[in-house]
Symmetry: C2
């Protein structure tokens, strides 16, 4: 049998104390510095987790079986690992790291699993929901820079559930040809965009899989508070994925996926007689107003580099450089 | 729609800084103290990993896709998550934590994926391998207590590959009826057990799945050095899963799953004319001798409690108690 040449530095005698160093050593030949650094931190945390919990063999096996079940639950239309990441707060954290925001701008939040590319382009004023049971809602919004300048021609993708708390894609007979509760529109020269929708309602994340069982075992519910999703795109500006939440929702302070932020909670108003006439919507309908603020790519890049450098400093690593916002070992 | 009553303490405004505390808070209602503690450490390490690497959204997605592929690769006869755990050194670490050994005893090592329950009971002296191409090996072993007393009637499960580096179960036509390279036997009144086998050879762990791709990306090979597996069971003694490795193997210092320990490496000897006659094996055949030392359940339990208490102390957690060797929050 032909054996491979071994370039790996020899491992030391393996014990519970030096196993971590030995795994780092065997991974040290990796030619991609960023991947090597990510794996080094991953292995360190994985091992420390086992040491700090004194993880038992039956618990380890339960973990292996849980992860296997999560993988088996994944299909083209169901991503159970993203659901796991969402319910452990990782998705929100990664979004915050990748899209840091100055305090003057609109915060981001979780994308969730129900964004599609089926939504059609519509002019301002479009009624995005065809659900007759939904409570009518007029949305009057603007999109501006951090210095208050209106931003025109921003592509805005909006999606919400129907009055039963289900997205169009969750219905078995959904074909993609008649999207509902979705629209793509563009801001006008004053940065204004407006549309008609229905008042959002709470809904449950899919809880019939291993992640649902985990939530049960943790004594948690699987509800998300009422919200409406927004995605903003314009060249030169950092992609913003966010959502607005309704104040007073029963799950406002216990969102299963940690999406709620104080700055994204809105109080609904009431459409005045003048607005009813102007926007052709029944008087007394609910009204949502919000001024979104986008950050430029330059501002985001600078902030990302700055926060990465701060993180390396607090980690006591002085042998790192920041490349495109990501720390990598500085081998020079 | 009927909403669930929310008992969860209200989450604070979510930011990159307090997301971890908020996940702990939402999990704090968990009624199983041990599970709550394990999840608290898991979430802390998962979040710190993302913060310390400044994990980007594309990297996060690559991780989600990798884990999904690992789950999809798992079948009844292939456990890719265990392979992942093995190649990241976690399996060895968990075994060391769960089965701590005093220095006078035989160290444990990874079980590996090829142990079966097909092996039949045999008397001492059995030839466990039917491979005519294997190099004959005489194995003369004993099993004793940490104070040197022989232990009789220990159930010893032994398994090794054939001369091509494959276990019986890896052949497509394997039915389970004629196990090869496997046997179960029992030590005699002097703690002696002996058998005939073939000299072990190196082999590769399954590398055609996502874990194989990860090893490639890390610049690692997928070889395991030559070894023979042993499992010891007797009521009153801690279950010992171990293996013996051949000194001078090309992969002695770079085992893909970190199983090698200095104390488990053996130098093969040569069968003397007297031994050849006594054990009915060709003169000049290779000889393996080893004295295994088992730990009592009591010794293991004490050591496990002691190491768990030390770990809690070094973690600065003074609100923990040790229950069956496992740390749990002390709520009294």
């Amino acid at each position: 049998m032909a054996h491979e040449k071994v370039n790996i530095p020899p491992l030391k005698d393996l014990t519970i104390d030096n196993i971590t160093d030995n795994v780092h050593l065997i991974n040290s030949q990796c030619e991609e510095p960023r991947f090597k650094y990510v794996m080094e931190r991953l292995v360190s945390h994985l091992h420390d987790f086992a040491r700090e919990t004194r993880l038992s063999t039956p618990e380890w096996l339960a973990g292996i079986e849980f992860l296997t079940a999560v993988g088996k639950k994944c299909t083209d239309v169901r991503q159970e690992f993203i659901l796991l990441s969402d319910t452990l707060g990782l998705s929100l954290l990664v979004d915050s790291i990748d899209h840091p925001k100055p305090s003057s701008s609109t915060e981001g939040t979780v994308l969730g699993p129900y964004h599609t590319h089926d939504a059609q382009d519509h002019t301002l004023g479009h009624k995005i929901s065809g659900d007759p049971d939904g409570e009518p809602l007029l949305c009057l919004c603007t999109v501006k820079t951090t210095t208050g300048e209106p931003i025109s021609d921003v592509k805005i993708d909006i999606w919400e559930t129907d009055s039963k708390g289900s997205y169009d894609v969750q219905y078995e007979d959904y074909s993609g040809e008649k999207p509902d509760g979705r629209a793509v529109m563009r801001s006008d020269k004053d940065g204004v965009f407006w549309f008609k929708a229905i008042v959002p309602v709470p809904y449950r994340i899919p809880n019939d899989g291993p992640v649902g069982k985990m939530l049960d075992k943790l004594g948690r519910h699987s509800w998300r508070p009422s919200h409406m999703h927004y995605m903003f795109e314009k060249p030169g500006f950092d992609h913003l994925i966010t959502a607005l939440y309704l104040r007073g929702d029963p799950y406002e302070t216990s969102d299963a996926v940690f999406g709620v932020k104080e700055s994204l909670i809105v109080d609904l108003g009431t459409v005045t007689p003048e607005q009813a006439k102007k926007y052709d919507i029944p008087e007394g309908s609910k009204l949502l107003t919000y001024d979104f603020v986008l950050v430029t790519d330059e501002e985001t890049k600078e902030l990302r580099n700055q926060k990465a450098a701060e993180a390396m400093k607090s980690l006591g690593r002085d042998n790192m450089k920041i490349l495109d916002g990501l720390p990598v070992p500085d081998v020079d």
